[in-house]
Amino acid sequence: MNPADPILAIQDLHKSFAGKAKAPVAALRGVSFAVQPREVVGLVGPDGAGKTTLMRLAAGLLVPDQGSATVLGLDSVRDTLLIQGRVSYMPQKFGLYQDLTCQENLDLYADLQSVELAARPARYTRLLEMTGLAPFSDRLAGHLSGGMKQKLGLACALVKSPELLLLDEPTVGVDPVSRRELWRIVGEMVASEGLGVLAATAYLDEAEKCQRVVVLHEGLKLAEGEPAMFREQVRGHSFAVVPTSGTRPRSIQARLVGQPGVVDATIRGGRVRVVTEGASPQVMEGTFPAGMAAEIRPVEPTFEDAFMKLQADTQDATAARTAPSPAASHSPLPASDSVVHTRGLVKRFGSFTAVSDIGFDVHQGEIFGLLGPNGAGKSTTFRMLCGLSKATAGEVRVAGRDLRRTGSYARQRLGYMAQQFSLYGQLSVTENLRFFGRAYGLSGKRLRTRIEWALAEFELAAHRDDSAGLLPGGYKQRLAMAASLLHEPDILFLDEPTSGVDPLARRDFWRRINAFAESGVTVVVTTHFMEEAEYCDRMLIMSQGRELATGTPQEIRDLARTAVHPDPTIEDAFIALAEGTAKPSAPEAKP
């Protein structure tokens, strides 16, 4: 192999999978690109774009229907074993043995990759140091936190010095601190050992850290280039709408989403970030009352802006999205200061304290976020709120009542969407809706109207007779949300509604949540995506069962505002709080 040759050359790759009794599904339809030594290439695209299939083809785990993957000058089909000895692949489930310790996992992969015994001690020391796992080398992998598992998975992939590293969504579900560390480790290895990296990712901000980005969409390559090139393509299309004081950015954002000529509208740093079809802010005129915005100013484009524009250009005419028509009427809740009220909430499992002294209030029509990495205690807090689990100590009142005492009254008023897909996979979409509607006491004409509303509102009508278990990821999530909204609840509890959902589907989701909140529904939502916190009116940031900070997005950002970081994001604030460089806020004044 010539030193100038690419280490990975993908040539017109096609791959389809036989669907059950249906036509084969084309995962890749003619993709070509290359990865050079010392290069980090990002592979981005929504779910079903073909990212994982491409990774598996490059690792020799699949055989292409047409075209070829040439790794280090070797053909991925003919010389599979030779390639596998020189390449490391970290699958999405990272392949750790939960019942082996960190050290045993490293030993296993060192043996499988034939790392010389003499070279091992130095390598282990270096990897354990880089990943910060040295103190945990005797701990079972199954007992590590999500971020630590991911780092161990990466260490196992790096136990030999690979010439090409294939990473399939290495940072899914990992807290921001660990995400940064993972990318730092990859960067160090590239610098010191000159390997090439192909990393699939669903986080668009990570694409900016790559030298080159390949955008996949439904098995086709949409674009390829340096992140700067992508940014230049949308220069002049990105704007920030600064709300006047007293205006919630959400109110502006909700009005902009789905407007013709508006490609994307998100909330970032307390401002509404807008990407427009043409290079002019004109399309925004008249979409929201002039008094809401203090200023509209052009901003530096990001890769995310370009990605959204690419997606919009691809989807032939984004289906005009109608603003949702939320629950028609809302009987007012009993007069109370807050809809959800907790004080001194504690949950212990044996000697382990999962939640320690959490207290907050949520008011009507508010979107309240519980934020934190996996394992922070969000779901445990959530279950106590919903009355699914008993608090060890503390006070919980929802709609003025204790859910564990007066269950049925309060439960009628709340909708709950569990983190795991909790619908019946074998039942069709309509059957699931009918079941959940009946479970909440709907029947007859009311049930039929509500089901029709749900099918229309969540764009499920085309799938009404499909089994819920066979729906694509984003649709499952929509169906779960529809089921929790059938009985027109006043309070909506959403546990990680956007986990495992691609960026496009996540936007769609928040658009709906916003619309419900605007109509007076109170929403309590957990998420580990820090940027989603911007959609919340107020939030509580948790880590290891404790409250790090509570407040509005603005207040949280202010905590991390320094001379070096004049404009921090919520994620920056989280990292500062977790690392202790920002002081946790004094708990909000409690009435």
Binding site: F17, L81, Y89, K93, G95, Y97, D99, L100, D111, S114
Partner: protein, 373 residues
Amino acid sequence: MSKAMRLRGFLRKEILQIRRDPSSIILALVMPVVLLFLFGYGVSLDAKQVPVALVLEDHGPEARELAARFVLSRYFEPVGAMSMAEATAWLDQRRVDGIVQVQTDFAARLQRGEAVPVQVVVNGTDANRAALIQAYVGGILTQWSAQRLARGLPASLPAVSVEQRIWFNDANDSTAFLVPGLVALVMTLIGVLLTALVIAREWERGTMEAILSTPLSVGEIMVGKLLPYFLLGMMGLALSVGLGRLVFHVPFRGSYLVLLLLSTLFLLASLGFGLFISAGTRVQFVAAQISIIAGFLPAFFLSGLLFDLESTPRAIQIVSHIVPARYFVSASHTVFLAGDVWPVLGWDALALGIMSLVLIRLARSRLGKRLEG
């Protein structure tokens, strides 16, 4: 060199996992003991010390002599009843399993050389047991008449009677029959169920994808999976045989070496089957169901372990030929109860050898280095 290192690493991982996973230890070492005790003590196919009601309406010496034979027999535990009505009530209450009624004119008829009026009533709920009780009663009557004839006394039965003897299992002890068969069951559990589960678990947890992306070859994966579970299966075998010999005093007339050879062949066939199942289904739940339906149940019902295959319908006999456990049960029975009878063992060994080769080849072809299929 690197091949040996890979294999060593894989084997070490496998052994660590077995040691840390209580479920595989339970399945491999606790289940055999439970099964053995359950079958050794709980399940008995014999009728012994059967409670029977004895209704003596004739109190002459002849009748009492006959009654004494029931009292002395270890198959019966007779209880004297005052009347047939009382005995019937006992039977209804399940206090006795049968009634032996010696009618009033017993002595008189006997003197005249007529058929003796002894009525036997047996609870027929359990047909097998009923047949056994009936046969035992018949046996006692026959013996009694034979002795009377020998002494030149009048008896109702012909002088010549058929003597029954059950070969190989002189004591007619079902434990001696069940334990050798159980060995097949234990090895099926380990070879098929445990193996299928551990590989399906690797698929479920995503570790298989990571393993397949390393330079480990399919042959090395096969050996790495087969060897630890082969050893575990052999431990199960040793445990069953040891317990059978020591606790249940099961006879062992063949040689341990021959048993080892046949067990090896059978275990290889089971492991091959287990690998084959898990190479196709990548979900533990499905793998467990298939192993039980296609592995465990046939080994239980179609192997001759519980029922003699000769007495089953023709169709079942034909089907049983594709069940590896059938050959192993036959071989195991032979080695334990008869000895190294090569005309029987040779065919069993041949069948098991072919089956293990075929199953391991099938598993090999299905367990590729690719993810498709």
